[in-house]
C-alpha cells in the first residue's frame, strides 16, 4: 500500500511517499509554497524515477498552510498534528517539539504515545520564523545556508531586540552602518529567533527530549542559539523540513486502513 503526505507551507512544498506505512519510498522538497507552482512541482519531483504515480496512492493527506488548496487530497490535517506524528515516528522519546517554518513557529508537547498534550503557536507576526531569517540573510548578503557558519564565527553577538521583522531589519541595517561584523549580527539574528521560539517552549512546558523540525532547523546557528537559551541539547530530526509530510503520509496510512 502506498500513501502520500504533502505539506504545502508558506515558503516551500514537501511530499513523502510511504510504502506500507513504514518505508519512505520517496521524498521531495521544492522551495516554493502555497499559491505558487511549488505544490505541482513537488508532486512531479516526488514521483520522478519511480514506477508508480499519483493514481497508485491509496490515500493522500495534505497538511500545511496551503492544505486546503490541494484538490487531490483525501483529507486535510493540521501541520501540528502531522509534525507530531512524524517526529514521534522518527524519535519515539521526543516530548517537546519546536517547529519553525516559513511564517509559523510552534511548540508542541507530546506524551509517550505521541499524543499532543499541548501546543502553542506564534502570534500573527513573522518575527522568529523562516521569513524573518530570510529577510535578515538578504540584508546581510549571507546565503541562508551560510548563516549557520557565520553564527559560529561570531565573537560578540549583536543585540537584535526588535520583535517586529520590519523594525529588526532597520536595526540590522543600523548595526551594519556602525561597522558591526556580519557574523556578530547573524548570531544576534539567531538569538532573536531563539528567544521567540523559547518563549513558546516555556509556555507549553519543556520536557526532554526536545526535538526541532521545520525548515529553520536546517540552520545550525538557530539550533545553537536555542540550545544556549534552553540550556538543553536539542535533537534535530532527520530531514527536518519533511517531518510534516512524513506525518501526513503516516496518518494517510492509518486512514487508508480504516477506509478499507
Amino acid at each position: 500500500m502506498y500513501t502520500l503526505g504533502i505539506d504545502v507551507g508558506s515558503a516551500s512544498s514537501k511530499a513523502v511517499i510511504l510504502e506500507d506505512g513504514k518505508r519512505v519510498a520517496a521524498s521531495a522538497v521544492i522551495q516554493s509554497g502555497t499559491g505558487t507552482s511549488g505544490p505541482g512541482r513537488v508532486m512531479e519531483l516526488v514521483f520522478d524515477g519511480l514506477d508508480i504515480s499519483q493514481k497508485d496512492m491509496d490515500y493522500i493527506v495534505a497538511t500545511g498552510y496551503g492544505r486546503f488548496a490541494v484538490p487531490f487530497a483525501n483529507k486535510q490535517m493540521s501541520e501540528i498534528t502531522c509534525h507530531a506524528k512524524g517526529i514521534h515516528h522518527l524519535i519515539p522519546n521526543a516530548r517537546t517539539i519546536i517547529d519553525i517554518g516559513g511564517q509559523d513557529a510552534k511548540a508542541i508537547r507530546l506524551d509517550h504515545k505521541g499524543n499532543i498534550l499541548k501546543f502553542v503557536m506564534n502570534d500573527k507576526c513573522a518575527a522568529g520564523t523562516g521569513r524573518f531569517l530570510d529577510v535578515m540573510s538578504r540584508v546581510l548578503e549571507i546565503g541562508l545556508q551560510e548563516m549557520g557558519d557565520a553564527h559560529f564565527k561570531a565573537d560578540c553577538p549583536a543585540n537584535v531586540s526588535s520583535t517586529c521583522t520590519v523594525f529588526a531589519e532597520s536595526e540590522v541595517i543600523s548595526q551594519l552602518s556602525k561597522g558591526v561584523s556580519k557574523e556578530n549580527i547573524a548570531a544576534g539574528v539567531h538569538r532573536s529567533i531563539a528567544s521567540k521560539a523559547c518563549s513558546l517552549v516555556y509556555r507549553v512546558g519543556m520536557e526532554e527530549k526536545v526535538v526541532m523540525c521545520g525548515g529553520v532547523a536546517q540552520d545550525k546557528g538557530v539550533v545553537d542559539a536555542i540550545e544556549q537559551e534552553l540550556k538543553k541539547k536539542i535533537l534535530v530530526a532527520d530531514n527536518p523540513q519533511t517531518t510534516g509530510a512524513l506525518g501526513a503520509a503516516l496518518i494517510a496510512f492509518e486512514l487508508a486502513g480504516k477506509s478499507s
Binding site: Y65, M77, S78, D104, M121
Partner: protein, 376 residues
C-alpha cells in the same frame, strides 16, 4: 403557519447585520431615535425607559482601519479601532447620544476622543465594588443618576423611576429568554451552528428588548418542535470579549465544534444574572453591577472567571474551553495566566485564539482550531 427555525434565524442574521435598519424602524414606529451603547456594561435600562432605542456599538467586521490611526495608537484593541473609524466616517452621526463606560484605559481615552456628532455621556463604574460594597452601591447609583440626568437633558425627556423599573422587568424577561436559548443550543448542537447562535445573541444589541424576546421565543419554540439532528463533534465553552468575524465561527463549525455556553462580554455576561427589584431602580441597577462577576474589566481580586468557566464546562459536559483573546485587550491578557493555571489544575483542555475584527486572513486560527479539534 408557523415559521421554521431557519427562517427565524435568517431574520436574526439580517437584524444583526443591519443595525441602521433597526434605528430607522424604531424612529418610524416611535418618533424617537437611538442612543449608542459603547462596550461594555452600560445600564441600558435607563435608555430603554426614555423610549429611545439603545444600540450596541461593537465595531464592524473586517473593516479596513485608516483614519482611526490618526487618533489611536496601534495597540488599541480592534473594537475601538473599528469604532473610531466608523465614527470618523459619520456612521454614528444619527445617534442622539452615546454612553461610555470606562472600565479600561482604552475606553477611558476613547471617551475623551469622541469625534461623532452625538454628545457623549461618560460614567465610571466603582473599582472597590467587592470590598466596600455599600459605598460602591451608593457611588454607582450616583453615576447612573448622572447618566439619567444627562440623557434627560440631551433627549428632552423625563425618565421616571417607575419607567426604569418597567424597563428592568423587560430586560430581565429578555435575559431569561437568552439564558434559555443558550441552554437549548447546548441541547441541540446539531441544529444551531455557532454563527447562528452568535447572530441571535448579537441582534439583541439592535432590537428593543421585548421584540427580541418575542422573536427569541418564536425561535425556541421552532427549534424544539423540529427533530434533533445528530451531533458527532465536540462541545466547547468560549470566553472573551467577543467572538467575530463570522469566518471564525464558521471555522468552529467546519471542525465539528459546537458552542454550548459562552462567557463573552458581548453575549452571556449581559444576561447571566437579573437585576433586582429594589424600589429605587437606579440602586437596583447599581447593585446588579456590583454583584456581577467574571469579566476582566470588572475589578474583582477574587478572580472568579476561571471557576465560572470550569463550572460551565462541567454543567454542559463540554470538552474544552476556547479563550477568544481580543487583540491588545490588556485586562483579558493579564487574567489569562490565572485562567491557564486554573484550567490545568482542573484538567480542562483549553486553547487560546486571537480575535481581531480587522482581520481578513484566518489561516492561523484555522490551524489552531483544527489541531485542537483533532486532539480533543
Amino acid at each position: 403557519m408557523s415559521r421554521t427555525a431557519a427562517e427565524i434565524i435568517k431574520e436574526f442574521r439580517e437584524i444583526a447585520a443591519h443595525p441602521e435598519k433597526a434605528i430607522a424602524n424604531h424612529k418610524r414606529e416611535t418618533g424617537k431615535g437611538a442612543v449608542g451603547i459603547m462596550p461594555v456594561y452600560c445600564p441600558e435600562e435607563i435608555v430603554h425607559a426614555s423610549g429611545y432605542l439603545p444600540i450596541g456599538m461593537w465595531g464592524a467586521q473586517k473593516k479596513t482601519i485608516s483614519k482611526a490611526r490618526t487618533y489611536l495608537p496601534p495597540f488599541a484593541c480592534s473594537i475601538m479601532q473599528s469604532v473610531m473609524e466608523l465614527q470618523l466616517e459619520g456612521v454614528y452621526d444619527e445617534l442622539s447620544a452615546v454612553i461610555f463606560s470606562v472600565p479600561c484605559d482604552t475606553l477611558k481615552c476613547m471617551s475623551q476622543k469622541w469625534h461623532g456628532k452625538a454628545p457623549a455621556i461618560v460614567f465610571a463604574h466603582p473599582q472597590n465594588r467587592k470590598n466596600a460594597r455599600k459605598v460602591a452601591d451608593a457611588y454607582c447609583r450616583e453615576e447612573y443618576a448622572i447618566v439619567k440626568e444627562k440623557l434627560e437633558d440631551i433627549l428632552g425627556v423625563t425618565i421616571t423611576n417607575s419607567a426604569i423599573k418597567e424597563s428592568i422587568a423587560v430586560y430581565n424577561e429578555n435575559r431569561a429568554a437568552c439564558r434559555r436559548f443558550s441552554d437549548i443550543v447546548a441541547d441541540y448542537p446539531g441544529n444551531i451552528c455557532p454563527s447562528d447562535r452568535h447572530a441571535v445573541l448579537k441582534s439583541r444589541w439592535f432590537m428593543e428588548k421585548s421584540k427580541h424576546t418575542a422573536l427569541l421565543n418564536e425561535l425556541m419554540a421552532a427549534i424544539e418542535s423540529e427533530p434533533k439532528k445528530k451531533f458527532t463533534g465536540k462541545k466547547v465553552v468560549v470566553s472573551g470579549i467577543m467572538l467575530e468575524p463570522y469566518e471564525v465561527l464558521d471555522i468552529f463549525e467546519e471542525n465539528g465544534l459546537a458552542i454550548v455556553a459562552d462567557d463573552l462580554a458581548q453575549e452571556t455576561r449581559n444576561f447571566r444574572q437579573d437585576v433586582g427589584n429594589d424600589e429605587d431602580a437606579l440602586l437596583a441597577l447599581a447593585k446588579a453591577w456590583n454583584d456581577f462577576d467574571g469579566c476582566s474589566l470588572a475589578t474583582d481580586a477574587a478572580k472568579p472567571k476561571g471557576r465560572i468557566l470550569i463550572d460551565a464546562v462541567r454543567k454542559y459536559d463540554a470538552d474544552a474551553v476556547i479563550v477568544c483573546m481580543m487583540k491588545f485587550c490588556d485586562p483579558e491578557e493579564f487574567d489569562y495566566p490565572i485562567l491557564l493555571q486554573e484550567f490545568e489544575e482542573a484538567g480542562v483542555r483549553n486553547l487560546q485564539i486571537e480575535i481581531d475584527q480587522e482581520s481578513t486572513a484566518f489561516e492561523q486560527i484555522k490551524t489552531r482550531i483544527q489541531t485542537f479539534a483533532e486532539i480533543l
